[in-house]
Symmetry: C2
Subunit: 349 residues, 2 copies
């Protein structure tokens, strides 16, 4: 049985008994009922995931999957593929956005090469390279079905290793010049939306080229005809290697009862792949911020999650998800530090 199939089979819903018990206790904490809003929702969900009335997320990691996209030869990005390699290396040195925010919250940054179209040193970058970049999907599929499975399994393996080391809260991040293009394609296919509705500026693409980018995506979809109900088909035909890796991280989180925080637009596209493969994955996902990238809001809606941060961010790398770690951990402090009315010896509603 393949790693992917095994992981998909293992995914079970959250534990609703623990959730009911957690909610009951939260309703009795010394505050007006419901007044801590989404912090309460987060705490209940964590209890259902961890089967614990005092869930803990002390040990945290963001898995940054990196990959390139040959579709940039169509003029859909302003940067060259070299940047993927350089930023992946900078990430191992603690110098990029996600590193700064991860340091603040005490999270590990695990940089993984799923498909960088360059040689990179593997002393600090995890080597899960499936191939040197996803192919240009206006000329055929981005990758074969077998390669898509390998990309998903790359993410599963890295996440399972982190979980085995004690990580209790995961986030997905990415680095890949051009990767808003396959992300828009995925959201467009799975959401049944025209590419123009979900195609944005990515890393500062000039506004007059965004229409061209949407046209490229439309052409790629027409040529490949991905089946919107088959996540593997969508990933292979119009996706990306690092997007497969991120979806794999989500599958592994769900299979091992570890929550996974979704970052911005590209993470959300990966989440749509993961939830198309198995809808129960959604129960283990937390949304983070409402990215400014056009299409992010639509993608989060399709996923059926709601964001907590309104930061006008659109950097990616996992920055929004790592910022969300703060909020999720705060929910565990509400649980652990506050007492109930009964414990305090008085009643208020």
């Amino acid at each position: 049985m393949s790693k992917l199939f095994e992981t998909l089979k293992k995914i079970q819903p959250r534990d609703k008994t623990f959730e009911a018990q957690a909610l009951d206790r939260i309703n009795h904490l010394i505050k007006p009922k419901g007044s801590l809003g989404k912090l309460e929702d987060i705490a209940v969900k964590l209890s259902g995931i961890q089967r614990d009335l005092h869930p803990s997320v002390k040990k945290k990691a963001v898995i940054v999957c990196a990959g390139d996209h040959k579709i940039i030869e169509e003029g859909v990005a302003t940067s060259s593929k070299e940047i993927t390699k350089i930023q992946a290396i900078n990430m191992t040195r603690g110098l990029t956005g996600v590193c700064a925010l991860a340091k603040h919250v005490g999270a590990e940054v695990i940089v993984t090469d799923v498909g960088i179209d360059n040689e990179v040193p593997y002393d600090k970058i995890v080597n899960k390279k499936v191939k040197y970049g996803a192919d240009n999907f206006v000329k055929g599929p981005a990758m074969s079905r077998e390669e898509a499975i390998k990309a998903l399994e790359a993410g599963i393996e890295v996440a399972e290793k982190a979980i085995a080391s004690g990580v209790q809260l995961l986030a997905t991040g990415e680095m890949g010049i051009g990767n808003t293009t396959p992300s828009s394609a995925i959201v467009s296919v799975i959401g049944g939306l025209d590419p123009s509705e979900v195609t944005g500026m990515g890393a500062n693409l000039p506004q007059d080229k965004v229409k061209h980018k949407a046209d490229v995506i439309r052409k790629g979809i027409e040529i490949n005809q991905p089946n919107p109900t088959d996540g593997l088909d969508v990933l292979a035909k119009v996706g990306g290697l690092e997007i497969g890796g991120m979806a794999g991280v989500m599958l592994a989180g769900a299979a091992n009862r570890v929550p996974v925080v979704v970052d911005g637009f590209i993470s959300t596209a990966a989440a749509l792949i993961a939830t198309t493969l198995n809808p129960t994955v959604k129960e283990y996902l937390f949304a983070s911020h409402s990215s400014l990238e056009l299409g992010a809001k639509k993608a989060t809606e399709l996923l059926g999650l709601n964001t907590a941060l309104d930061m006008n961010m659109r950097l990616g790398e996992g920055t929004g998800a790592v910022l969300m770690f703060n909020i999720i951990e705060a929910a565990t402090y509400m649980n652990d530090e506050m007492i109930t009315f009964e414990e305090a010896g008085f009643i208020v509603d």
Copy 2:
């Protein structure tokens, strides 16, 4: 010269030269320009406040002002005044919502009695009691002009003591059964809005009593005729002692170049008092979350600030502001940990 007058006179705008230098450096960090959104805005603002390209907010405190409101005899709240006393004491024991979130972020909780209508122990609660509760403002002013000045000065003194001890980031919190009523009155008067537009459920007031609450507020405003352009007059006639204390904290922050994070609805009402006394105070304020309390959004708009957290919270105590400490501190990590394109040796836009 009175403490209040002295503090108001000391308030100067942020340093725009430092802000320009900070923005220039942030624009060169290794990320697409502008892609960290509000984190960038926060970092720039902090540089202008602290006159430092690497502002620091390591030492943080939330000043919780407590006070009672005799207007609860009109049936505008579900809890008794005893709860103000009990919760103030629970706060000194680390047991309430704001304590839990402050512990997470490493902030001190300074509980201050500005007007609790009860005896409380002053071993851990700061004694700045102006009087035993604000008067019922449907029968006359909530307090005299002199008492309003004392309430503001109470907040100024507590904040200045914290600042003298090295606190670099402040937040305002409150505890006071009935205090959404004077808050709605303040927002209504200063914003020129009918009370029904800004009066909500507070601590779970049944929906059928919310209309009555708005009617009480309307009556109180008619009787007292507060002058919307005179913050002291509004505070004295339809405000509250702890609301004055919170406004005082904001004035002291602005006067001493220390940023102050505004919490939810009641904090926002206090901020409207502070900015009516001196509009430059606004330059030192950070909004935090969009409270679910009806009127909170309107109040934040009147203040001209924008929120970063969308948490469906409405607890008060300073919980939303303390959660925002995480985000503000994250912005300083962006500044301190990321490098520029020049430092990295490559150029991307």
